[in-house]
Amino acid sequence: MKSKIAMLLTVLICFLLQCTLISRISVGSIKPNLLITLCVSMGLMRGRKGGLWAGFFSGILVDLFYGSVFGFYAFVYMYTGYLCGYAHRAFYDDDLKVPMALSAVADLAYNLAVYGLQFLLRGRLSLSVYLMRIILPEMFYTVGLTFLVYRPLRAINYRFMGTPWKESDSIWVVK
């Protein structure tokens, strides 16, 4: 129960930061995506279910205030978190390189999904422009943000949420 409340609060705080402070540090009107960082971190530290819930709740918040179709962002973020959860069993979560690489892939996939489902379908065909202007800059910026934010998130995870990690979960441990 305590871990669920902590998770919800973390999502809420990240959403608030994303909408207020992160907009202020945007470079060239591109801001990093803290919610992707959160989904990746939760997926990596807590597995598929953890990533799924973190993604779902951050997506729902985005949908409520900024979405055009209710449920769209929840769907996209949920899958991002879930897929990152596959890394939980394959990697240790104390190496900073793993979440950074993951967040690059996740941010790229997330933005391509948004482009494909919301822009391509409206007849905006110039992917290369969007790729150079939005997707790639946001990706690099998000990786930088993950570098800064992952350790605090990890501390929050172990301090307030406990670990769901069981020995039997790991594929490296001989059973």
């Binding site: 994303q18 909408c19 799924l52 205030f65 939005i134």
Partner: protein, 287 residues
């Protein structure tokens, strides 16, 4: 024994959970899109939780910037005094010229008969408290809501022109889609020739501060660069005569009938902080 367990736990495989949640998301999308189910109650609840924090963060950062500014102010002030003295001389001469311009302006305004209405709309001042979390769209949230008389489809302006339209409203917040948003379109007209056309936001032009327009039917070629563009009299959602921008480029379409081009907006959307919401809808004035 399960009965003796202190905690009630549902054990569900993560891939089943994903399937379940996917179904929930998709059915939410379908019910909103196809059946038109309103998410207003959910938004209202979430707004009550989130918005006070956003307002507090906004206030905090205001205080911090104020302190920072005060530090810089002292040194800047001394420099400024000298600059101002020099400026004063040149301004006096400029002022004389401006007084003449002012007379010309009032004369032209009465000629267009548009800006008078502009001043007569009841307006509510609001502050932007948060922005769209992604980079794809250009929507933001303001700190006034239905408690201050703001409704869906209210037009939002800032000092010099049209900013956007209210899309969602809670008691103490409202979200606004700006006209440079990729999914926005505004029915517009030119001031002199009263030709109607549609102005779209375009993500590819945002950096240049431009909007795209199309369906301009102008066989004589009266519409040229520099022409003033305002919201049209036939627009459903925008009240008439709000200033949008100046025409930047005009290009003939391949059908030889209509023209497309770009419009420059006078508003700096990335540094926008205060806006005015017009609390009259176009529908009200039609009734």
């Amino acid at each position: 024994m399960k009965k003796n367990r202190p905690q009630f736990r549902i054990n569900i495989k993560s891939r089943h959970l994903l399937g379940l949640m996917s179904v929930i998301c998709i059915s939410a999308m379908v019910s909103v899109l196809a059946a038109g189910v309103s998410t207003q109650p959910l938004q209202e609840i979430a707004g009550r939780v989130i918005v006070p924090f956003e307002k507090a963060i906004g206030r905090m950062s205001d205080v911090l910037t104020a302190i920072q500014e005060r530090m810089q102010e002292k040194e800047a002030l001394l420099l400024e005094i000298e600059e101002l003295r020099a400026e004063l001389d040149s301004l006096t001469t400029q002022n004389n010229k401006l007084i003449q311009d002012q007379e010309e302006l009032t004369r032209l305004r009465t000629l267009f008969d548009l800006n008078e209405e502009y001043d007569n709309y009841p307006k509510v001042a609001a502050q932007i408290i948060s922005k769209d979390p992604g980079n794809w769209y250009d929507t933001f949230m303001i700190n006034k809501g239905s408690a201050d008389g703001i409704r869906v489809n209210n037009n939002v302006i800032a000092g010099r022109g049209l900013v956007g339209i209210v899309t969602d409203v809670g008691t103490n917040w409202a979200s606004v889609r700006s006209i440079i948003d990729d999914s926005s379109s505004v029915s517009a007209m030119t001031v002199t020739s009263q030709d109607n056309f549609v102005v779209h936001g375009d993500l590819e032009l945002i950096d240049e501060g431009k909007l795209r327009f199309e369906q301009l039917y102008d066989l004589e070629g009266v519409v040229t660069a520099g022409e003033r563009v305002v919201t049209s009299n036939i627009s459903e959602n925008y009240v008439q005569g709000l200033f949008i921008g100046y025409i930047n480029q005009v290009k003939q379409d391949s059908n030889n009938l209509t023209k497309t081009g770009t419009i420059v907006t006078p508003i700096d959307f990335s540094h926008l902080k205060d806006v005015l919401v017009i609390t009259v809808n176009k529908q009200d004035s039609m009734e």
